[in-house]
């Protein structure tokens, strides 16, 4: 069975994929759905959900449409999740690859560096970074990337080490290929699967992290994101539960979807570990 087919037989993964596609679609269509943007004060504040036509999820503390905020928030969550993951990969993959491929002092040095970053308390570091750089979309993304690359480096290092031991890599050496070309063309492509699985989970974690930072008031004030919505609404949670409830659900669903996809990919890539596979 091909990877894709195996993936599609996994009901959880399919559900995840469906949710994610929906979220992406909504994010892309945001300007079409709500041309006035998420900040427009459209009605009385604190309108209860399902009470007013056109405002199915009610309005927030300034009379802004909660649904519009959710729709625009999808863009930010996905963007921060994706970009910070990409950045983390850009740091972690080369570092891990070099460490795993060259071994010896390169490995030693790279792993010390990685360990160093793993010793610094992650979330605290993210907070300090955002506070220093001042909360903007860029600084938040950078901070998330900086705290999330070490596991990537470790994974890639382990994978590269294991792939480098395979005989076809020896064969490539004997073919006279250069180290760089072996690393890039023979080794790395064969480590892609676990990296993809990890990346899908990292996007999920990054979304959670972004929302946590926003909750602490370290969000970009010009950007409507889900974390921002919850953070802004937490003080009114008693009187206007829906303001933090719906963005919370949006986060849970998106993160859940990404996790389901990650697990589905993992199962599809490692059929011998999945429960349905034969021993």
């Amino acid at each position: 069975m091909t990877l894709w087919k195996r993936f599609l037989t996994n009901r959880g993964a399919l559900l995840g994929l469906a949710i994610l596609i929906a979220v992406i679609a909504v994010a892309l269509l945001a300007p079409v759905l709500y041309p006035r943007g998420p900040w427009a004060m459209v009605q009385r504040p604190f309108l209860v959900p399902f009470s007013t036509d056109g405002l199915p999820l009610g309005t927030d503390t300034l009379g802004r449409d909660v649904l519009a905020g959710l729709v625009y928030g999808a863009r930010v969550s996905l963007l921060v999740g994706l970009v910070s993951t990409l950045m983390a990969l850009l740091i972690g993959v080369p570092l891990g690859a070099l460490a795993g491929f060259y071994g010896k002092w390169v490995d030693e040095g790279a792993m010390r560096f990685t360990e160093f970053f793993q010793t610094i308390p992650n979330f605290a570091l993210a907070i300090v970074l955002v506070a220093i750089l001042e909360p903007t979309l860029t600084s938040i993304t950078i901070a998330i990337a900086i705290v999330s690359w070490p596991p990537v480096a470790r994974l890639v290092r382990a994978e590269v080490m294991s792939v480098t031991k395979r005989e076809y890599v020896d064969a490539a050496r004997l073919a006279g290929l250069s180290n760089l070309s072996i690393l890039v063309r023979q080794v790395l492509p064969n480590t892609v699967s676990p990296i993809i699985v990890m990346a899908s989970l990292m996007v999920a974690t990054a979304i959670l992290l972004e929302s946590s930072l926003s909750f602490l008031g370290l969000g970009d004030p010009n950007i409507m994101s889900w974390g921002f919505q919850i953070g802004a609404a937490r003080t009114v949670i008693r009187s206007a539960w829906w303001l933090s409830f719906f963005p919370g659900v949006a986060i849970v669903l998106t993160v859940l979807a990404l996790n389901l996809i990650g697990e589905g990919l993992n199962d599809a890539l490692n059929p011998h570990l999945s429960r349905k596979g034969r021993s």
Partner: protein
């Protein structure tokens, strides 16, 4: 009187498997004190029956039809609890991989005593005593120490002995041994086979011995069953089957076995293709925080020469340094000192860029057909990457690749396929074509046929023999299997613990070994006596 009587047994595979039944309509019995060998190649379904008897069938696989009568009951139909009561008590089993078959976190003594615990025998204190007795019985050294040892502290052979001790704990009527010696070195294998024979003698238990190796069959079997695709194709006493096989398949299997018949070697006296002088390589393991540094001499002052057109067999057990030597010749390992002269170049002395330019001189055929080809690259790429890097024009390299695929018998069109579309034997052929594509002066074949089934092994050896004649190849053929070595090589070199202990023409080494170790090795070859008798 039969201990076990299997009638009309069929075991169904789950949907989507390559065939419907792992085992179909098999009937046989094992008598008390009898050793029955179940022989077959991978996928023949030979282990499935054993698993069914033990109630250890993998998920999705189930008994479809038939009975297995043991102690007056059909043990395929009894409840899980009854089956559990049988397991380890009246039927015991040992497995192929001694390295993984023991719980790494438990002491050997506890793992043995656990058998008593599982069946509620003896008081805890006595269990230890019993375990100690068993350890003595399977001739493990220093029993008091072994009982407290963890599996990782034991060698493969010792672990297999510990496994046997466990199996013997409750004096089973039937011992099922699933390829118990396949993963062991040849000398260890001989010892374990002897141990099983002794124990059979002493306890009179029946043994169902599953193997792929007719050599082992010759050593141990009373009766033999040959299986193919889940069906029994031949049965009889050991002597009948080995000497007078009735079924084509059996005959082919037997023919495929390198018999150990020693060919008269051709004298080759041309210029040397490879000259190794005083080669040394020492590995320093450990030196970390938690362990003491240890120096292992993988290659200890080895010198040898391979003439142009010669095939030199390099044999030795695991850890003898034979593979390290092969890898040092291609400079996948950099030796500490000494020289490796190939066509006037000292491979051991080149720097990185010189080395890249000289790589094509020596090529290698690897052991694992599944790991030696990049799963993401088409065959064409595997065959042309090297030549192109060497400077051969692309079109020419591609033509050559097609040609080579014809040569190794896969057809020119096969270049556009991915490795996973080929079987293990076919992949080894691709590996050989890849080596040839570089027009090397020397080929290192590192256990190139070890991972293959016997019949496939024979085909690949035939191909090598053929190529050798057509292209006048110089080959360093590394193997742990002396019989294979004897078939292809002109001269044999024997390595032990990094040292070259003997080197000479095949006939000399086999018929008139000079070194004790060589003799031990030859004696340990299973079915050695039978092989010679066939001559």
């Amino acid at each position: 009187m039969s201990v076990l009587k299997i009638s009309d047994l069929s075991i169904a595979l789950p949907k989507g498997a390559d065939r419907e039944h792992a085992v179909s309509q098999c009937s046989y019995e094992i008598g008390a004190g009898e050793i029955l060998c179940v022989v077959g190649e991978s996928g023949s379904g030979k282990s499935m029956t054993a698993n069914a008897l033990m109630g250890l069938l993998p998920e999705g696989v189930r008994v479809d039809h038939g009975t297995a009568e043991f102690g007056g009951k059909d043990i395929l139909r009894v409840s899980e609890a009854e089956q559990r009561a049988l397991r380890g008590d009246r039927i015991a089993m040992i497995f192929q991989e001694p390295m993984t078959a023991l719980n790494p976190l438990m002491r050997i003594g506890d793992q043995i005593a656990e058998v008593y615990e599982a069946h509620n025998r003896h008081r805890p204190a006595e269990r230890r005593e019993k375990a100690l007795e068993l350890i003595r019985e399977v001739q493990l050294p220093d029993p008091e120490k072994i009982i407290r040892a963890y599996p990782f502290q034991l060698s493969g052979g010792q672990r297999q002995r510990a496994m046997i001790a466990m199996a013997l704990a409750l004096e089973p009527e039937l011992l099922i041994a699933d390829e118990p010696t396949t993963a062991l070195d040849v000398t260890t294998q001989a010892q374990i086979l002897k141990l099983i024979l002794d124990l059979r003698e002493k306890h009179g238990m029946a043994v169902m011995f599953i193997t792929h190796d007719f050599g082992v069959v010759a050593e141990i079997a009373d009766r033999v069953i040959v299986m193919r695709y889940g069906e029994i194709v031949e049965r009889g006493t050991a002597a009948e089957v080995l000497e007078n096989p009735q079924h084509d398949y059996t005959r082919r299997l037997l023919d495929a076995i390198p018999t150990g018949m020693v060919p008269q070697s051709v004298e080759v006296a041309k210029a040397p293709a490879l000259e190794i002088r005083h080669l040394k390589k020492t590995y320093n393991t450990g030196g970390g925080l938690f362990r003491e540094a240890r120096a292992v001499r993988a290659i200890d002052d080895v010198s040898l020469t391979i003439s142009r057109g010669e095939v030199l067999g390099l044999v030795g057990e695991s850890g003898s340094g034979k593979s390290t030597l092969g890898r040092a010749v291609v400079r996948l390992v950099t030796p500490d000192s000494g020289s490796v002269m190939v066509g006037g170049t000292d491979m051991a002395a080149l720097n990185d860029s010189e080395l890249r330019a000289a790589r094509h001189k020596v090529q290698m055929v690897f052991q694992d057909p599944y790991a030696s080809l990049n799963p993401r690259h088409r065959v064409m790429r595997a065959l042309t990457d090297g030549p192109i890097a060497k400077g051969v024009p692309k079109a020419q390299a591609r033509d050559r690749a097609r040609e080579l695929m014809e040569t190794v018998g896969l057809g020119a069109d096969a270049v556009d396929r991915f490795p996973h579309e080929f079987s293990g034997g076919q992949r080894q052929r691709i590996g050989i074509a890849r080596a040839l594509a570089m027009d090397p002066e020397l080929i290192i074949a590192d256990e190139a046929v070890s991972a293959l089934d016997v019949s496939i092994q024979a085909q690949v050896l035939d191909l090598l023999r053929d190529l050798r004649q057509r292209f006048d190849l110089s080959i360093l053929f590394i193997t742990h299997d002396l019989r294979v070595g004897a078939q292809l090589c002109d001269r044999i070199a024997v390595m032990q613990k990094g040292k070259l202990v003997e080197i000479g023409p095949v006939s000399e080494v086999f018929l008139n070994p000079q070194h004790d170790y060589t003799r031990t090795l030859l004696d340990a070859v299973p079915g050695g006596g039978w092989g010679q008798a066939a001559e």
